[in-house]
Symmetry: C2
Subunit: 535 residues, 2 copies
C-alpha cells in the first residue's frame, strides 16, 4: 500500500486551536475531494450500465481485464467480498426462465390430489368483493356416521394445505400426520375429519392464482380483500354439500385457531366443541408488524410486478425473504440458542455478508424451500386477512352493516340459468381410514390459570355467541407471534361471557421451547390435551 | 357477472361415489384449463415487457385502452387493488435519478460538522483486512481537565452518529441531548465527553463509502470485514491523539454497550469505570437472525448492485425495508398495543395490501426516514460486526492468533516516508460547554438480582480482565433485541470473575414498555442510574 497515492496526502494548512495538528479545513477538503471523485459518472445511465457488471468492482471495469483481475483487482487495499447467496438467486432466476414454454415458469402449487367442492353461487365477501363462483379443495379422514354427528372441521395455518394426513391418493405425510388416525388425538375410529384449503390460498381453493370467470384471466391483485370469516363461510358451504348440519368440533391452530373461533361465532348452532391452539381473538400490532414486513419485502421484489407475474418469473427472492422473516417468528430464541448457538457454517472461512452463522443458513434454507411452494399473491391476501381479524363486537357490527349494503351487488348480477345445480361435490369412493397401530401417548399438561385482568368489553360482547360451547384454548409461553397472553385473553373473554366450559392450557418454557411451531411438533401436550378435550 | 363465460361452465361427466354430484375429473379439467390458459405468453421476454406495464392488469394491456379502463377493467369481477406504497418508491427513484449531475444521486451521510482524527498508519483488522489509513470523526462536550483524568468515551448504537448532543458548530439536537450537559447524567461540568463515529460507518469515519487510497475509488464491498474490537482500537488511537491515557469511564448503549465492554477488555489499564446499557457479551442467534433478514432484504434490492451503487441510485427501497424490520425489534408489542392498537390509518377505506393499520404507517415512515440517512454498505458491515461479537475466551484467543499471523501484512506494506506525522487531529478553538439550566431528576430503580444460573466458563475466562472495574449493567425487560437475560449474563459473568463492583439494573415492564429504545428515552431511570454510578 503506497499512501502517496492517497487523495489527502498533500494538503498542509496552518494548525490552530486546542491540541490540533491540522485544522478542520483539511478534513473538509478530504470530504469534498471524495465527493468530487465519485461524481463524474453518476448518471442514471451509467448506473444501469454498471448494474450489468454487478460482480465487477468499479475500478476494474476496463477493456481487456480478465475475470480473475476483476475479482481481485490489484489496486484494491483488500479483496472484494463474494456473494454466493446472490449468485444462487441469479442462477435460480435463470433456471426458471429456461423452463419449458409448455409448462410455464410459474409452478403449480396444488398437487391436485384432493377433493373439490365447486360452487357456481357467488360468494359475497366481508369487504364488498365478490367471487362469482368458488372452489373449496379439501381432504377427509375417517367415516361420517349415519347421524352425521361425528364431523370435525380442521382449520389450517397460513401456509398449510388440506393435506393434514396422508390419503389413498396422496401418500405424502401431512402436516399433522401424527395427530390424525386410529387412536390419535383426532381419532379416525370415532371422527370424520375434514380439512380444507382456505379460499385466497393456492392449494386448489379459489384464490388470486385462479381464473376470474369474468374474463378468463388470473385474478392476481384483482382478487378482492377477504377475511377469516369469508374463509369460514366457504367452509360451511362445503359442510352443506356434505350434508353435515352440525360439527362435533371445530379445531384449528395458528390462523386456524382464529378460524375455529370465528366458525363458532358465525354459526354457533352448527358447532359443538371449539378448539383454538396458538391463535387469538384479534391480531395485535406486533403480529401485524411482522406480517407487514413480509408483505413489503415481497411486494418490493420487481418480479412481483404488482401481482401480475403469472406469465413471467415468480418473485422467488421476495418470497424467500418473506419466509425468512416469518421463520424468525415461528420459533423461539432459547430454542435457537440450544440448536445453533453462535456456530458458524464454516469457522475456517472469513465471515461473509451472505449467510455465515448456522442460524443464517437455517433461515436461508427455510426461505429457499418455501419460495416456489406457495403463491406469493396468496401470501399477501391471507396474511392481510389475518391482520384484519378482530372478534370484537364493533367490528362484527360494522361488517354486518357493510354486508347488508353490499348484498345488492349479488341481486343485480346476472345469473346463468343454464347451471341448474349451484354447488357440486367430488368425493372418493372410499374415504381414507387409518390402520390402527400407534399407541396414544397419555401425559397431559395441567391447565394454567389466566392472569386475571379483565378482558375488553367489546371482545366479551363479540364472543358471547360462544357462551355455551365447550372450548379448549391452548398457548405456548415461548411463542412470539401469537404470544401466550393472547390465548389467555381468549379464555378470560369466554369466561367473562359466562362460559363455564372453558379449558385453558399454557405450555411453559420448561415444556416447549419451540415457540409458535409447537402445535406442529408436540404430540404429547398439544395432542394429549386435544384428545382428552374431544373425548 | 355472467358465469356463462366461465371456462368450467360446460363440462358434464357422470357422477359416482359417496354423495358426489360431479367427479374428480372435472376439477382436474378445471386445473388443466387454468394451466393452459396462462401459458402462451410465458417467456422471459414477455415477462420483462409486462414489467413495464406494472400498473396495468393483464387483460387490459391492449392497444387503445385508456388509463381509466386499465385501472378498472370492465371485465374483472372486482376492481384491481392500487399500490400507493409502490408508486411512492417509484417516484422516489425517479426523483433521485433527476438530481443534479454535479451533486450526484448518492446523498452525503455526514454533515461534516464534527472533528476528525486522521491516521496515515495502517490499521490491521481482526479478520485480516487492512485500512491503509483511517479517519475517526468525533465530537466532544465539556473540558478535559489538567490531569486528563475526566474523559468519558461514549459509544453509539448502530445507526447513531457522534452527534450525541448539539455543539457550537451543529446546533441540531443530538441523540442523547437530554443525557449530556451541565447537571445531566453525563455532566459536562465534571466530565469531558468524547463521542466517535465508528469506523465502518458513514458519518465521517472511514467506512465503505470512503475512498480506498490504493486506487482512489470508494471501497464499497472491497471494504474489509471488521469487528467491535476494530472499532474500539480506532477509538483508542484517537484517545492517544487527545493525549488521554486513561478514561474515567467507557459508556455505551446497544452496540455501544458491546463496545464499552470490549474497550475495558482490550485496554483494561486505560479504562476506569464501565457502563453497558442494553448490550450483551455475545450476540445470540435471535439477534443475528433479525439482522440477517435486514441484510438480506437490502442485498436483494437490485440497486444495491453488490455494494457498487455510489455512482448510481442508492438502494433506498432495500434500506427502507431493512429499517422497518429493525424498527420492529426496537420497540415492544405492549407499547404498540397502547399506542396504535388495531387502529387503521383510514377506517373508511377498504383495507389495502400497502400500509393500512397505523402500526404499518409508523413502520413505513420510520423506514422511509432512514432510507437515505445511512449508507447501505455501512449497515451491512456494522451489523455483521455486531453478529461477530463474542467476548468468550476462545474467540479472543483465535483472534489474537489471526492478528499475529496477519501482522506480517503490515510489515511488508510500503510506507510513505514523506508523511512525517502518522496521525493528525482537528479540534475546535473552544470545546462546547452546556449552559447550566436543567434540574436533574433523581429517582433510581433498584438493581434487580440475577437469575442465579451459572454463566458459561468461556465467557467468565474471556471477561476476567474486567475483574477490578466498577461496572454498571442495565437492561430492559421489554427489550426483544437485546433481551434482559443478556444483561443478566454480563452481570453474572463479571461477578463470577470475582468482580465485587458490579451494579445490575433491570427495568421491568412496569417501568418501561419502550423495549430496546428505552436507553434513548428514559432520562429518569437510565439517566438516573448512570449519573449515580458515575459520581
Amino acid at each position: 500500500m503506497n499512501s502517496a497515492r492517497s487523495v489527502i496526502g498533500t494538503a498542509r494548512i496552518a494548525s490552530r486551536g486546542f491540541g490540533a495538528h491540522i485544522p478542520r479545513e483539511r478534513s473538509q477538503l478530504f470530504q469534498r475531494t471524495l465527493q468530487r471523485t465519485s461524481n463524474p459518472r453518476s448518471t442514471p445511465n451509467s448506473a444501469r450500465h454498471f448494474h450489468n457488471n454487478a460482480r465487477r468492482p468499479a475500478q476494474s471495469a476496463v477493456a481487456g481485464a480478465s475475470e480473475e483481475e476483476s475479482l481481485q483487482p490489484p489496486d484494491s487495499s483488500n479483496p472484494a467480498l463474494s456473494f454466493p447467496c446472490l449468485d444462487a438467486q441469479e442462477a435460480k432466476t435463470a433456471k426458471l426462465s429456461a423452463r419449458s414454454l409448455s409448462s410455464g415458469p410459474e409452478p403449480s402449487y396444488t398437487t391436485g390430489h384432493h377433493l373439490n367442492y365447486l360452487c357456481h353461487e357467488p360468494l359475497l365477501l366481508d369487504w364488498g368483493g365478490i367471487l362469482p363462483q368458488f372452489n373449496v379443495a379439501f381432504e377427509t379422514w375417517g367415516r361420517l356416521n349415519d347421524t352425521k354427528s361425528n364431523a370435525i372441521l380442521l382449520h389450517t395455518g397460513l401456509s398449510a394445505s388440506s393435506h393434514a394426513h396422508s390419503t389413498e391418493i396422496n401418500s405424502k405425510p401431512g402436516w399433522w400426520e401424527k395427530f390424525i388416525g386410529s387412536g390419535k388425538p383426532l381419532d379416525t375410529d370415532k371422527y370424520f375429519v375434514v380439512c380444507t384449503n382456505v379460499i385466497g390460498g393456492c392449494y386448489g381453493s379459489t384464490g388470486p392464482s385462479s381464473l376470474d370467470p369474468a374474463d378468463g384471466q388470473r385474478y392476481a391483485t384483482r382478487f378482492p380483500i377477504l377475511t377469516m370469516q369469508d374463509m369460514v363461510r366457504a367452509q360451511f358451504q362445503l359442510l352443506d354439500g356434505l350434508e353435515i348440519e352440525k360439527l362435533y368440533a371445530s379445531v384449528g391452530s395458528s390462523m386456524g385457531g382464529m378460524q375455529s373461533l370465528a366458525a363458532g361465532i358465525l354459526f354457533p348452532e352448527r358447532v359443538g366443541k371449539v378448539v383454538s391452539i396458538s391463535g387469538c381473538a384479534r391480531s395485535h400490532p406486533y403480529s401485524i408488524a411482522m406480517r407487514h414486513t413480509q408483505r413489503q419485502v415481497l411486494m418490493m421484489d420487481p418480479k412481483w410486478n404488482r401481482g401480475f407475474y403469472y406469465d413471467g418469473i415468480p418473485p422467488h427472492s421476495g418470497m424467500k425473504l418473506a419466509r425468512e422473516i416469518a421463520t424468525v417468528t415461528y420459533r423461539s430464541g432459547p430454542e435457537w440458542e440450544l440448536r445453533f448457538g453462535r456456530r458458524r457454517a464454516d469457522p475456517s472461512r472469513q465471515p461473509a455478508l451472505c449467510p455465515d452463522f448456522l442460524i443464517e443458513t437455517y433461515l436461508d434454507h427455510a426461505g429457499e424451500k418455501f419460495s416456489l411452494e406457495y403463491d406469493p399473491n396468496s401470501l399477501l391476501y391471507v396474511s392481510k386477512a389475518m391482520d384484519l381479524f378482530d372478534l370484537g363486537r364493533a367490528n362484527q357490527l360494522q361488517t354486518a352493516q357493510r354486508r347488508q349494503q353490499n348484498s345488492v351487488k349479488l341481486a343485480s348480477g346476472e345469473r346463468d340459468a343454464a347451471i341448474d345445480q349451484s354447488c357440486n361435490l367430488t368425493l372418493p369412493d372410499q374415504p381414507y381410514e387409518e390402520q390402527p397401530s400407534a399407541i396414544p401417548s397419555q401425559p397431559l399438561t395441567q391447565p394454567v390459570a389466566g392472569s386475571g385482568s379483565a378482558p375488553p368489553g367489546d371482545l366479551v360482547a363479540g364472543m358471547v355467541a360462544l357462551r355455551e360451547h365447550p372450548t379448549l384454548v391452548m398457548g405456548v409461553a415461548s411463542d412470539i407471534l401469537f404470544p401466550a397472553w393472547q390465548q389467555r385473553e381468549i379464555a378470560e373473554t369466554l369466561r367473562a361471557t359466562g362460559n363455564r366450559l372453558v379449558r385453558h392450557v399454557e405450555l411453559g418454557e420448561d415444556t416447549s421451547l419451540f415457540g409458535h411451531d409447537t402445535f406442529l411438533l408436540d404430540l404429547e401436550h398439544i395432542g394429549g390435551n386435544l384428545r382428552s378435550f374431544l373425548d
